[in-house]
């Protein structure tokens, strides 16, 4: 039952309960890492091979001098133009019938080129299995016509799931609503980046605060192919010319 699905994560509704993280780990049988205890409530740390959802906590000072949190449940963006998929040499990374990006565990050989490519620090290397792993968009649940575990568990509907076109409409309406209420800092992320993400976010600060590259930094690895090879070619020509000159000269002193 092919369809184009998407997440819409409305960070203004996130209460930082981490139910999404727990549901994700439960469903996908991810043991997780030992918790990290630092200054804040974030003891997950980052997205990686064990954490396919990560609730970020960002402290900020309010206009009245108080402290408030920006919270966001981060996840793989399932980019329309996916950097990981672009570089993967084994074709382990595929686009599914749901238009999501999926690493086939039976094909991946753990070269980690996708990790070097992903601009959202999503993919991690799993030492136990020797594979690159990330959010599957609950591919198995989608095939069974179920919604992803994180969206199912979210108690405030901060994480919404549905057809991508519907999610875009919902996101646009919510942005208009918040702006209408005077929240000028509200903005949408993911409608333009990488050909459009399959995980849209409503943010209340600049993308880089949440570890998301701003539009001008959201670029594909392949941008460096032509100029990288061109520089190499010019060097090859210069090197060969130099060697030819050196080798054609008469021998050194006997």
């Amino acid at each position: 039952m092919a369809r184009t699905v998407g997440f819409f994560t409305d960070t203004t509704l996130c209460i930082g309960c981490k139910a999404c993280e727990v549901a994700c780990k439960e469903w996908n049988q991810l043991p997780g890492h030992a918790p990290q205890f630092g200054d804040g409530y974030d003891n997950t740390g980052q997205l990686d091979e064990q954490n396919w959802r990560h609730v970020q906590f960002h402290e900020r000072t309010t206009a009245k001098g108080g402290v408030a949190w920006n919270m966001m449940s981060d996840v793989c963006k399932h980019c329309a133009q996916a950097s990981c998929m672009e570089v993967c040499p084994t074709n382990a990374i595929i686009r599914t019938e749901f238009d999501t990006v999926y690493i086939q565990p039976s094909v991946c050989n753990g070269c980690r080129d996708c990790i070097a490519a992903c601009p959202y620090h999503v993919i991690g290397f799993d030492e136990a299995s020797g594979l690159a792993r990330k959010c599957t968009f609950c591919y198995d649940r989608l095939q069974a016509n179920l919604m992803p575990a994180c969206a199912k568990a979210c108690p405030t509907e901060s994480i919404k799931f549905g057809d991508l076109s519907t999610m875009k409409e919902v996101a646009g309406a919510r942005l208009n609503q918040l702006r209408g209420q005077g929240m000028a800092e509200a903005r949408l992320y993911g409608d333009k980046e990488y050909g459009g993400l399959h995980a849209l976010f409503l943010l209340t600060d600049k993308p880089e605060v949440y570890g998301l590259p701003p539009a001008e930094s959201a670029v594909l690895p392949g941008r460096n192919n032509a100029r990288g090879y061109l520089g190499t070619l010019v060097t090859a020509v210069l090197g060969v010319v130099g060697a030819v000159f050196a080798f054609r000269e008469r021998g050194g002193k006997e």
Binding site: P214, G228, F247
Partner: protein, 287 residues
């Protein structure tokens, strides 16, 4: 300047050594080919030595790459789609291209190695000496040069800081690869007893390569701009110092003396500098 929000791929020592040995193997084949095509009869033993050295060094490359995989027994997934059993080749993915180049260059290296071995044992003229043979080593040299340089492009085609912030890494690795190849050949030649004239030619060629490498080091840092600031930490500065010593001192020695000991010191320093370059570029961007 692009802001990066990436995870490091944990490419470490296997990859550093692959980049280093791949540079030597590719560069040494190219030098052997140019010596054979452009040199005189006194250069033939060194050209043969280049082909004799290339294969044993090259053989280590796929071993290192396979060991680096999370699933080494699936190395063949790089070439064959394991679900459809069709060929896997993505010209826009340097890792995919590199695997094929390694394989194809391996055939050239093997044939040239066998020829050089036969020539060494029987003393007969190389069977690749005719027009076809010249074409063969020329094509082999192109693949060799590609192998020595594409590793830098592989790093650049990512979203990692430093690696993807410059277009000069492929060029820099190739220039360094030619230099370390000349050093390896020079070292091996002087350990044996070869023609002095050919060794002098290698020294002259290495002068070009080192100047090229120094120019590309400048281009590399200029192209990096502010992204190069992560190399300011003392341990990276120490490695850059080794890179500089491994280029400037050999260059000075190449101009000042053609005696055996300074030449061998120059070669050893060049090798140390070439290795340090790859260590600092590979690890420096990931930490």
């Amino acid at each position: 300047m692009i802001e990066h929000f990436v995870t490091a791929p944990q490419w470490e020592w296997y990859i550093v050594w692959y980049f280093f040995l791949g540079g030597i193997a590719g560069g040494i084949y190219a030098l052997g080919a140019i010596l054979r095509l452009m040199g005189d009869e006194r250069d033939a033993p060194i050209a043969r030595l280049a082909f004799l050295l290339c294969l044993p060094i090259l053989v280590l490359c796929p071993i290192l790459l396979t060991l680096d995989l999370g699933r080494p027994l699936r190395f063949w997934h790089m070439m064959i789609d394991s679900r459809t059993f069709t060929i896997n080749f993505k010209y826009w993915s340097p890792m995919s291209v590199g695997v094929w180049v390694l394989l194809i260059f391996g055939v050239f290296a093997l044939v040239s190695f066998l020829e050089a071995l036969a020539n060494l044992r029987t003393g007969r003229a190389p069977f690749l000496s005719g027009g076809l043979g010249r074409a063969f080593v020329t094509v082999g040299a192109v693949f060799g040069l590609f192998l020595a340089g594409y590793t830098g492009v592989l790093l650049s085609v990512s979203n990692q800081p430093v690696w993807s912030d410059t277009w000069a890494l492929g060029a820099l690795f190739l220039a360094s690869g030619l230099s370390v190849a000349a050093a390896t050949l020079s070292l091996a030649s002087r350990l044996g007893r070869h023609e002095r004239s050919a060794e002098a030619k290698l020294t002259r060629a290495d002068r070009y390569f080192i100047v090229l490498e120094l120019a590309l080091l400048i281009v590399f840092f200029v192209s990096l701009g502010a992204a190069g600031s992560r190399f300011l930490a003392p341990h990276w500065m120490a490695l850059w110092a080794v890179v500089l010593i491994g280029t400037l001192v050999p260059l000075a020695l190449h101009f000042s003396s053609e005696r055996r000991t300074p030449a061998m010191l120059a070669a050893a320093l060049t090798l140390a500098g070439g290795l340090a370059l790859r260590i600092v570029v590979v690890f420096g961007a990931q930490m």
